[in-house]
């Protein structure tokens, strides 16, 4: 997030797009409710009628995958009414003219045809957001999990720059990160192209710096992303894979393909706290510690680094994960001898400029929001004040592109996937929590009442859902939350695994798969 969570409370207009906030980030929803109580306009754009839509001042149900068109339409209205902040555009951005040429093509009427949202609603949304004192954008996987994920994000950045709603309190472009420490995993260099703190591996100075710090010879070749690793396994160029606390056998698109790839590995090591479907395929399974059994830090979606504290010893013979890695590394021939996570953090801060001022002592109290470059620095509540990280903010001229897979006569329904309020990701933890399991023991498929009648199914009946990649038999929940022609399935349940169906087509830059859109057929299961 460019801005901190609490700042949302004081926004005057919040555009929530592709985020089922009350289910997936409930404590962010709290701040949106508070903004609403203060009189802020809440605009929700989502193909599915999520809970927050019920409290929205304006709800726009755009068709799956039409986000770029919708936002371009809003920007078209803003430009033609002169609601944009020319000063901000002139002083702080570049690329405006090419951008303007593209956006001019997206009249509300044309956009209405693409998205299914009325021109009037597009105008209202543009008016409220552009003319708010502080306008904030909140988005989540509904924006990113598309073959146009990067385009979608850049379009939202365009919108915030055009209106000057960035670099100030209670504004910004605010992605809600799905996992508790996905921010931290990125910050720590858990990515194939960067060292900790987003320092590119293919910049010679960075390589030298880390070679010195780590006393080792490093590679300057950008590594493989997860889809690349799977391809490498299938092709035989990747032989050994170590998977820590992840479950691609449920979480990745086109699970049949994932299974084939993983079975090709000569060595598959899985470190986890439960025997997940992925661990079942492993040659070696290492029992790690749960969050309650170790010390350390997590970085949340607003970049706040907070302490994790050990409450109890790991169960049985399980071990704290940092102890496992350093033992493995030492046995491999590269010695690691840290005495505690605090010591590791000391090393992190010495090589990671944005974490430069972070230490366990300083995290007492409210934690710290990075960038925090020095021991005296108070941390950074919101980014891009006065100047963007890259200097001038760059407008991107972006055209709408439809999703990779289209519905047709054989696969006539759109399928979208997502989370529900009681479960988390592949359910490894929540489905082993009796209270949560009781509230929602099995998966379901949301079907619009009109479609349900046509299929001849009642709530609770089973249907067979098939895509070009696989099929699932699942119970139906008949609800107007989904629109006619569209169905929705949560992805937490291995028994009714949504990712047997999803399309592995991914964004050319971010490599994020298109979980949110694919084509399926439905029939009543006998």
């Amino acid at each position: 997030m460019t801005n901190s969570i609490v700042e949302l409370e004081n926004a005057d207009c919040i555009l929530v797009i592709g985020s089922n906030t009350t289910s997936s980030h409930p404590l962010v929803a709290t701040r949106i409710f508070r903004a609403k109580a203060r009189g802020a306009k809440i605009v929700v754009a989502d193909p599915r009628f999520v809970q927050l839509a019920n409290k929205a001042d304006l709800y726009m149900r755009h068709k799956l995958g039409t986000d770029v068109a919708l936002i371009n339409g809003m920007m078209n209205v803003i430009l033609s009414n002169g609601w944009h902040k020319q000063d901000f555009v002139d002083e702080r951005t570049e690329g405006f003219e090419e951008f303007r040429k593209v956006v001019e093509q997206y009249t509300p009427e044309r956009v209405s045809e693409i998205t299914g949202v009325s021109a009037e609603d597009i105008r209202t949304a543009a008016d409220w957001y552009a003319n708010a004192k502080a306008g904030s954008i909140v988005y989540c996987m509904g924006i990113t999990q598309h073959t146009t994920g990067v385009d979608n994000v850049k379009t939202l950045a365009n919108l915030s720059m055009l209106t000057g709603h960035i670099g100030r309190e209670s504004t910004g472009v605010n992605p809600l990160r799905g996992q508790n420490n996905v921010q931290g995993a990125c910050d720590m260099g858990g990515l194939p192209n960067v060292y900790p703190g987003y320092q590119p591996v293919n910049v010679a100075a960075n390589k030298e710096k880390f070679e010195k710090a780590w006393n080792a010879k490093l590679s300057d070749k950008v590594g493989l992303t997860i889809p690349g690793v799977l391809e490498g396994l299938s092709a035989g160029s990747v032989k050994a894979v170590v998977i820590v606390g992840e479950n691609p056998m449920v979480s990745d698109p086109d699970v049949h393909h994932v299974e084939k790839a993983l079975k090709n590995a000569e060595l598959l090591v899985v470190q986890d706290i439960f025997l997940t479907p992925t661990a079942e395929l492993a040659h070696v399974v290492l029992p790690g510690a749960s969050f309650a059994e170790k010390d350390g830090t997590f970085s949340n979606t607003e970049r706040r680094v907070q302490r994790v504290r050990k409450a109890v010893e790991p169960v049985g013979d399980a071990r704290e994960d940092w102890k496992i890695f350093q033992d493995l590394s030492t046995r491999f021939g590269y010695k690691m001898e840290y005495g505690s996570p605090a010591e590791i953090m000391a090393e992190i801060s010495s090589v990671t400029p944005s974490y430069g001022g972070i230490s366990f002592e300083r995290l007492e109290g409210d934690g710290l929001l990075w960038p925090c470059p020095s021991a005296e620095h108070p941390g950074t509540k919101f980014l891009h004040q006065g100047k963007f990280s890259r200097g001038r903010g760059l407008f991107h001229a972006i055209e709408y592109k439809p999703p990779a897979e289209q519905i047709d006569a054989e696969y006539p329904f759109w399928l979208s996937t997502g989370r529900i309020h009681v479960h988390y990701h592949t359910g490894t933890m929540t489905r082993n929590s009796p209270t949560l399991h009781k509230e929602m023991p099995e998966g379901f498929l949301e079907v619009n009442p009109v479609d349900a009648r046509a299929l001849g199914v009642k709530s609770g009946d089973a249907v067979r859902v098939a895509s070009r990649r696989g099929e699932v038999v699942i119970k139906v929940d008949i609800t107007a939350r989904v629109t006619q022609g569209t169905v929705f399935m949560p992805f937490h349940f291995v028994e009714t695994c949504a990712n047997l169906l999803t399309n592995p087509a991914n964004d050319p830059i971010a490599k994020i798969p298109e979980y949110k859109v694919c084509a399926v057929q439905l029939e009543k299961a006998l």
Binding site: V6, H25, L27, V28, T144, G178, N180, N181, V182, Q183, A185, M188, G190, P196, W214, L218, K221, G223, L224, T225, I226, S237, V238, K239, A240, V242, V244, G245, E246, P248, L267, V285, L286, P287, G288, S290, A292, G296, F298, N300, R304, A311, V312, G316, D317, A318, F325, L328, S329, F332, G333, Y334, P341, V422, M429, N432, S433, T435, N506, P513
Partner: protein
């Protein structure tokens, strides 16, 4: 009589809510939202309120497993780690550093993610490190 409350951060979503885990005689028995956490201010969602429930689940993995004759078999830490280090070294030597890949984790701590990528880059010599940021 041992009753402790341990302040920590939630392991589910990216909100970063704070709570106390209640420990009674060595077991985590409850969750109490921390009133002064800057994100959650004494509130939690249904997942957070029940986060203690999976910790002592009987289904937790409690010892290392090694595939022997096709089946995952309990072994000592020494055996599991020696086997892993040896095989990884063999594969690296036979096929080069980039034949080894790592999936770091959005679920483990910063310190642990740092060590995973350091192990991959400094020990194995590959930048094949990714995690499920996209999921």
């Amino acid at each position: 009589m041992e009753y402790r409350t341990v302040l920590t951060t939630c392991t589910y979503c990216g909100c970063g809510c704070g709570f106390y885990l209640e420990v009674l005689d060595g077991r985590v028995v409850g969750t109490i939202p921390c009133k002064t956490n800057p994100v959650s201010e004494g509130k939690l969602c249904v997942k957070g309120w029940n986060v203690h429930e999976f910790i002592h689940s009987p289904k937790r993995l409690t010892q290392p497993l090694l595939r022997k004759d096709g089946a995952l078999t309990p072994v000592s830490w020494d055996e599991a780690l020696d086997f892993t280090a040896k095989r990884m070294r063999e594969i690296k030597e036979a096929n080069g550093s980039d034949s080894v890949a790592f999936l770091a984790s959005a679920k483990v701590t910063n310190e642990e993610n740092y060590l995973i990528q350091k192990f991959a880059r400094a020990a194995v010599g590959t930048n094949n490190v990714d995690h499920c940021a996209r999921l």
